[in-house]
């Protein structure tokens, strides 16, 4: 070990914190042969001894009692403030929860009222639908019709009929619909028997047709009523095609709009 290496270790050697035993031995061996480094180690020992002496004098030096008292006062005030904030925060959260719950109840009540009003105010089917279907109704006897069209009862299963009734219950006044059903003719099929696809769903649309449309179905007509308009119920399948039609008496005038 040379003096430079010794210098790197001298402080830790003097502090007795040189952990490497081999290094420590080398340093001590170096001091035995090097007067300058031996003096250097003695200086370090002296300095550390003086530091210990200073600390021995200062050993009992502590902050005066008034510092502790002042800190305690501050600590208690801080704790009180923190508790007050926590309580205020808790009560604030509770109030927010209550407000939220109340607002949710109010919104739910308004929603129920609005839905109820909409349900009550819902009227018969809109007129554009009627006018659209009316054209089909005018054409249907021509395209499907003629005297060769088989007059068949509409093959509706009871469940399907019930579904149709259910779907339209909200769109038409119940009493008017019941009267119309009683006075109407039977449903006449507009398609051949073999062409009947299973009817999964459908809807009945009231249209206005010329009375002469009854001719292919052998309906009761007079020359006076031939050109008069009359109302009919058109059954549309799920594919939008007309499946069947029935006619309402000319005297039965249901206001559709």
């Amino acid at each position: 070990m040379n003096c430079q290496d010794f210098e790197l270790n001298v402080i830790q050697l003097a502090r007795d914190q040189l952990l490497d035993a081999g290094n420590r031995e080398q340093c001590l061996a170096h001091t035995r042969g090097c007067l300058r480094c031996r003096k250097r180690l003695e200086e370090e020992h002296a300095l550390i001894a003086e530091a210990h002496a200073v600390m021995a004098v200062l050993g009992t030096a502590e902050a005066p009692a008034h510092v502790e008292a002042a800190l305690l006062v501050t600590f208690r005030a801080q704790a009180r403030q923190r508790n007050a904030l926590a309580v205020r925060s808790l009560s604030g959260q509770k109030r927010i929860r209550q407000w939220t719950f109340g607002a949710a109840q109010l919104v739910a009540a308004v929603a129920v009222i609005v839905v109820g009003l909409m349900w009550l105010r819902s009227g018969p089917a809109p007129s554009p639908e009627l006018s659209t279907v009316s054209k089909h109704a005018q054409e249907m006897p021509v395209s499907k019709g003629g005297a060769n069209v088989a007059r068949q009862e509409l093959l509706l299963v009871p469940a399907e009929a019930q579904q149709l009734k259910t779907r339209h219950r909200g769109r038409q006044p119940v009493r008017q619909k019941q009267e119309a059903d009683d006075a109407a003719t039977q449903f006449y099929s507009l398609v051949e028997a073999g062409e009947l696809a299973p009817l999964e769903s459908g809807r009945v649309v009231r249209v206005e047709v010329v009375a002469s449309a009854l001719i292919p179905f052998g309906g009761p007509l007079t020359p006076e009523t031939l050109t008069q308009p009359m109302q009919a119920d058109l059954l549309l399948g799920q594919d939008g095609l007309a499946r069947a039609i029935r006619f309402l008496p000319a005297s039965h005038n249901i206001k559709t709009q």
Binding site: I11, R15, L58, E62, A63, V67, T74, A79
Partner: protein, 208 residues
């Protein structure tokens, strides 16, 4: 100085302190205040500053106890760190020391001989001239060397602990300690050769 690793009881005390238990705070204060006070006293040479610094360090603990992370070091090191920042701030702010500057070897200004604080605690405590001289010379060191000497030589922290307090590398602590000791020896030798009639020597009355 005791610099034990943080214990479960200390964690428990800190938790209770955060819950507002003033007995827990008192226990923590009494356990650490002495070391912090002595560190500030050795750094500043002033009991007034040492009191203020001790109070400020624990005020920070009261206000922002949640900032202390046991995983990053001991509570003592944390408090030393706060105290060190306050001491340096106070020393910059207050003109307690009058320094005669000279150009140091490394180019920085280093005080050759300084006055000590007016309220000199050691003058009452010690009759040992050498001890007083060492203390005065330490006070004359630039703060960056003074804090390392105080922590390692006086408070007997290891290099690693001192590095934790100073937020620097262990190697930095080691090199600063070497430089600090070199300055101490240089000044001790220089002071012992001062002319007793010079004003500086009158201030360093122990050598007259």
């Amino acid at each position: 100085m005791t610099n034990k690793p943080i214990t479960h009881s200390e964690v428990e005390l800190l938790r209770r302190m955060a819950d507002g238990d003033d007995q827990a705070f008192t226990a923590i204060y009494r356990q650490h205040q002495g070391a912090i006070y002595r560190f500030a006293l050795l750094m500043s040479g002033s009991t007034a500053i040492a009191e203020d610094v001790t109070q400020e360090a624990f005020m920070v603990l009261i206000r922002e106890a949640q900032l202390y992370d046991p995983g990053r070091g001991t509570l003592t090191a944390y408090l030393y760190g706060i105290a060190r920042n306050y001491v340096l701030r106070r020393l910059r702010r207050d003109s307690f020391f009058v320094s005669l500057m000279r150009e140091a070897e490394d180019g920085e200004d280093v005080p050759l001989t300084t006055l000590v604080a007016k309220d000199d605690p050691f003058s009452n405590f010690s009759r040992n001239e050498m001890t007083r001289l060492v203390r005065q010379t330490v006070l004359a060191l630039p703060p960056r060397y003074r804090e390392v000497v105080v922590l390692c030589d006086f408070q007997e922290l290891s290099y690693a602990e001192a590095a934790q307090v100073l937020s620097c590398a262990v190697g930095t602590v080691s090199s600063r300690l070497h430089r600090g000791h070199a300055l101490l020896f240089e000044r001790l030798r220089a002071v012992s050769k001062l002319d007793p009639q010079t004003p500086d020597a009158q201030l360093l009355r122990c050598f007259t």
